[in-house]
Amino acid sequence: MPAEVITITSGKGGVGKTTAVANLAVALASSGSKVVCIDGDIGLRNLDVILGLENRIVYDIVDVIEGRCRLKQAMIRDKKLPELYLIPAAQTRDKNAVSSADMLRLIKDLRSMCEYVLIDSPAGIERGFRNAIAPADRVLIVTNPEVSAVRDADRVIGILEAEDKGPGSLIINRLNPTLVRNKDMLSPEDVLDLLAIELIGIVPEDENVIIGSNRGAPVAYDPKSRAGQAFRNIARRLKGETVPFMDLESQGSFWERIQRLAGRK
């Protein structure tokens, strides 16, 4: 079966696109699927760092497109997961080095080689973003529960609809249940109310995400991390399973939980 091509995008920068790609790739590959992820952020590559593959890069996506190497040579195999590959971005070029047609050609060759292709889109709605969504079968939009990120996500969804890439599915990243409870943060309901698209996952704020990114070991490896669990759940939903949403409220301290339980009764 040809691979499903999933592009992860957001409009706004810094909401966690690259982290989401790394974690979904790890989660999908851990469950036995062959996954190739592509860093579409040419000139500002990051995905290799978050996956801990930085020092293995020999060839990159621009080398493939400009014919300096074969596709397989640019596919870096993960340290731990033999079914996970990365095609890194070039760091010394910019977005103009790649066109949408180049991307389509590259992805066409990849489709027969794996089950999932994950594309990490750059921020913005310019050329790099358009290259990243051109080959997509499905688009995931990452947003944070804050007004500016949601506004940009709305714009991106509008463009996706105009380009017939469907409205996409939403990942709400870095949700802090305590802030939401105190009405200091947009709730998932507020976000969905505005964006009106399918929700595929809510990832709670979790410092292990940053620690994992810095170590090159995405949090999806960590069986105890709540964010890791959220990403593993999203991966299962991508595979078509029905997975109930996590109860984010239960993440407070022991004392908070007791208080809430008492409050409910």
């Binding site: 400009e66 358009r130 709305d154 714009r155 969804i157 105009a162 505005l194 009106a196």
Partner: protein, 227 residues
């Protein structure tokens, strides 16, 4: 817009002209092209030009020279497309684009209808997301929301069967009798004719409202009631 010379093809693009040269010696090509420009100065003047130079190998001075020649004639060279990596590099060095991206989808639309009667309305059965701009020389009816960052500019009235959280300008050509109604009127800004009002506070339990210019000439929103 059509081709004329055997070697030089000129095509109209969405936002300018695309001129395609072939692999004949560069000096000949350049001269032929400039001769053609000089033959029809009015056609070319002010044009945004993209140049496809096939596999010509061009260096910085070649392109700079041509760019200056063109700009003397009021033509703006913005892109050079080439099969040669050297030429691409040269173009990038000069800050020229090396690919023509396909036109963007319509995010901003201006609708027009022949013989517009007073009561003509545009019906939009969808939500207007951020970045969408609708301009219409009549009334506009939306079955859906207008999200923050979405804009409607109408010469008549605007009715939103949904939440209005973007910007609406009714009576944009000065009709002070135009109104704006929404089931939830929480816009970032409202304008009727030349009156504007800043954001209204989002309500806890939104009720349908209607905004109009009152007797004192001020833009005012009031609850709509069936009575």
């Amino acid at each position: 817009m059509a081709e004329t010379n055997s070697q030089i093809q000129i095509k109209g693009l969405r936002d300018g002209l695309l001129v395609s040269l072939d692999d004949a010696p560069w000096v000949e090509q350049r001269t032929a092209f400039l001769t053609q420009v000089d033959a029809q100065p009015d056609f070319f003047k002010g044009a945004r030009l993209a140049l496809d130079v096939a596999s010509q190998v061009l260096h910085v001075n070649d392109l700079v020279e041509l760019r200056d020649e063109l700009s003397d004639r009021g033509i703006f060279l913005w892109a050079v497309i080439s099969e040669s990596p050297t030429t691409e590099k040269t173009a990038q060095l000069l800050g020229l684009a090396t690919r023509i991206s396909k036109p963007r989808p319509e995010e901003s639309r201006q609708f027009s209808v022949e013989d517009l009667g007073e009561d003509t309305a545009l019906f939009l059965n969808r939500t207007l997301r951020s970045g969408t701009r609708i301009e219409f020389a009549g009334h506009v009816v939306v079955l859906g929301d207008v999200n923050p960052g979405g804009e409607i500019i109408a010469e008549g009235s605007v009715i939103i069967w949904g939440r209005l959280r973007g910007m609406v300008h009714a009576g944009s050509k000065g009709n002070r009798n135009a109104v704006i109604c929404a089931l939830d009127l929480s816009p970032t800004q409202l304008r009727i004719a030349d009156e504007a009002s800043a954001a209204l506070k989002p309500q806890q339990n939104p009720k349908p409202e209607i905004a109009r210019i009152n007797e004192n000439g001020k833009l005012q929103a009031e609850l709509w009631s069936a009575a």
